[in-house]
């Protein structure tokens, strides 16, 4: 049997620089696409994790009439005896942690500056609040603290606040009036998401309830599951009488949509970039066919069939693709691995709580997307190379021999 790859290797070696440049074009295309895939996946992963971890959780249980946009602490909209409801939910096997949270709107005044904030009353002991324990300075809240407040790093910078400083906090209360009190900054936290940290302050749940007049009530039960894919199943298991139970998919419909759309977007980019790089390969192959017209005529004259000529050119395309895709994949993987560790700093992108992004995006490459890309690039190259290969195979030997003389 003819060793097509040996022939292909030697044929590619005739014009080393040209073959190298063609392979390099494919390598760069593959590396770029792999990095882009890792970037998009990292971005969506970050958005999903940040949004779920900081904002929506996997399931939220709220009063049937509660409107999360209004942050009302009127009793009619709150869940009564939330610790007991949380404990019942947490008893479900699939639930990792469930904790009550109370939201209220307020205004912080410090050193003649005022900023509107969202006040979140939390149970400091709950593991669900671990994302807020990353402190730039100071310490986390204690459950029985009645004067301490936890503020975000960007807010502290805006208002030039340090641990131990005092602020005046004004809150809209449950009876429709306002109340205010001096609090001491106990700690300054960072979640790595400026959009979140600049607008949310924490009080212990008991203090928040007392301060806003909510009594023993909470705005929601925040639930994290052991496996978020179980959300719909668990939501059905939670007694929904008087409660509205929503899963992370319902709470983040925009994010889910963007995530799905990003895959389609990435596919379009893949097709465009691969289309361009494969054009370079096809161009190289076409030049090769035209330059070797006489040889094709000779091979045909000594009995080489059309399919064998196709195989000879496809072997060349395979070697180019193998080299280009291998080098490109390694480069793309190395880039993705590097930026997966150090991240790419974007700062505050000003996104809403519907889609939170960390200030630093860490690339994330899945094996599946890497393999998909490698196979696509390889197959794309081979399919595109069929055109010059078929052109070569259809040459009449007499014409091919004549054209060279």
């Amino acid at each position: 049997m003819i060793n097509y790859f040996k022939l292909a290797y030697r044929n590619l070696g005739r014009h080393r620089r040209r073959s190298l440049l063609s392979g390099l074009a494919l390598a760069m295309g593959t590396a770029l696409l792999m990095f882009l895939a890792a970037f998009f996946q990292g971005e969506m992963r970050s958005a999903m994790e940040s949004t779920l971890r900081l904002n929506s959780g996997h399931i939220q249980v709220r009063d049937a009439d509660y409107d999360p946009d209004k942050l009302s602490v009127a009793w009619d909209y709150l869940i009564e005896d939330p610790e007991q409801v949380s404990a019942q939910i947490e008893a479900l096997d699939q639930v990792d942690v469930a904790t009550p949270r109370l939201f209220a709107s307020g205004i912080i005044t410090a050193q003649n500056d005022s900023v509107g904030v969202q006040i979140m009353g939390i149970d400091p002991a709950s593991r669900a609040n671990d994302p807020y324990r990353h402190l730039v300075s100071g310490e986390f809240l204690m459950a029985d603290d009645r004067e301490g407040i936890l503020i975000g790093y960007p807010l502290a910078q805006n208002l030039a606040l340090n641990v131990g400083d005092q602020i005046n906090l004004l809150v809209n209360t449950s009876d429709g009036t306002v109340d205010e009190q001096l609090f001491t900054v106990r700690g300054i936290y960072t979640t790595g998401t400026t959009a979140y940290d600049k607008g949310i302050v924490f009080l212990p749940l008991k203090k928040a309830q007392a301060f806003s007049g909510a009594g023993n009530r909470a705005s929601m039960i925040f639930v994290l599951l052991k496996d978020r894919e179980q959300a719909e199943f668990v939501a059905e298991a939670i007694p929904s009488q008087n409660f509205k139970v929503e899963t992370w998919r319902e709470l983040n419909s925009l994010l889910v949509l963007v995530n799905d759309f990003s895959n389609a977007y990435l596919t379009v980019i893949n097709l465009i970039v691969l289309g361009i790089t494969v054009t370079v390969i096809v161009n190289t192959m076409l030049m090769s066919v035209f330059e070797r017209t006489r040889e094709i005529g000779i091979l045909s004259a000594i009995g080489m069939k059309g399919r064998q000529i196709i195989a000879m050119f496809l072997a060349e395309a395979s070697l180019l693709a193998l080299g280009g895709v291998t080098v490109g994949s390694l480069a793309g993987w190395a880039l993705s691995a590097y930026f997966g560790k150090v991240g790419i700093y974007f700062g505050d992108l000003g996104l809403s709580a519907d889609m939170l992004l960390e200030d630093r995006i860490y690339t994330y490459l899945t094996l599946e997307s890497a393999i998909n890309l490698i196979v696509t690039a390889f197959v794309f190259t081979l399919i595109a190379s069929l055109y010059p290969a078929r052109m070569a195979s259809r040459m009449e030997p007499v014409e091919a021999l004549h054209s060279a003389q």
């Binding site: 000594i302 009995g303 059309g306 009449e396």
Partner: protein, 230 residues
Amino acid sequence: MEVAKLTDVTRIYKIGEVETRALNGVSLTIESGEFTSLVGPSGSGKTTLLQLIGCLDQPTSGKVIIAGKETTGLSRNQRADLRKGTIGFVFQFFALIPTLTAYENIEMPLLLNGKTAAQRKQRVMDLLSAVGMTDRANNRPDQLSGGQQQRVAVARALATDPKLILADEPTANLDTENGEQVMEIMKKLNKETGTTFVFATHDPRVIKYASRVVTLHDGLIEKDSKVNGK
């Protein structure tokens, strides 16, 4: 025994609106073991006739029978199949594959014919020896002189032990000494193996070796004579 038989063969080339009648009702029979020269001025139809005998081209009308097989209407692949076992070619330009060594060039038709590695090796070594190129087996064409390249081309044409070898101006690009050497080799192989050779040429150095000279003029056979070649 007839190796090739052409009956009333016409070949018309059409370029745009212009028709060129390269062969005009030629009938010719080549017998086994002949050493035939097709001679005539440029444009007389020598190369066209050779290409039709070699199944590289097809006639506009008429019948071409090679090794007892009617070739009219054969597909491109069927013609390739017929060529690879039956016909060997030697071209005017030194038609070797530049990326392959002398050994590999001779081996290529054997690969296309599905010969085993042992069969290929034996055959290639025998042929290299027959054309006096054993010591250049691993050289690529660009490391060989014109004469050496043409000797390798002759060896390649003989590789599959074909019934018929067609040579188009085989000495045109060779100096006198190398041209003589190549012709001596082909004549020797013709005598020893009985392989049929047909040349298209107007080189007197080739014609003097022929046992039959077919003269063409304006697409017609003007003269067909047996001669006492060298």
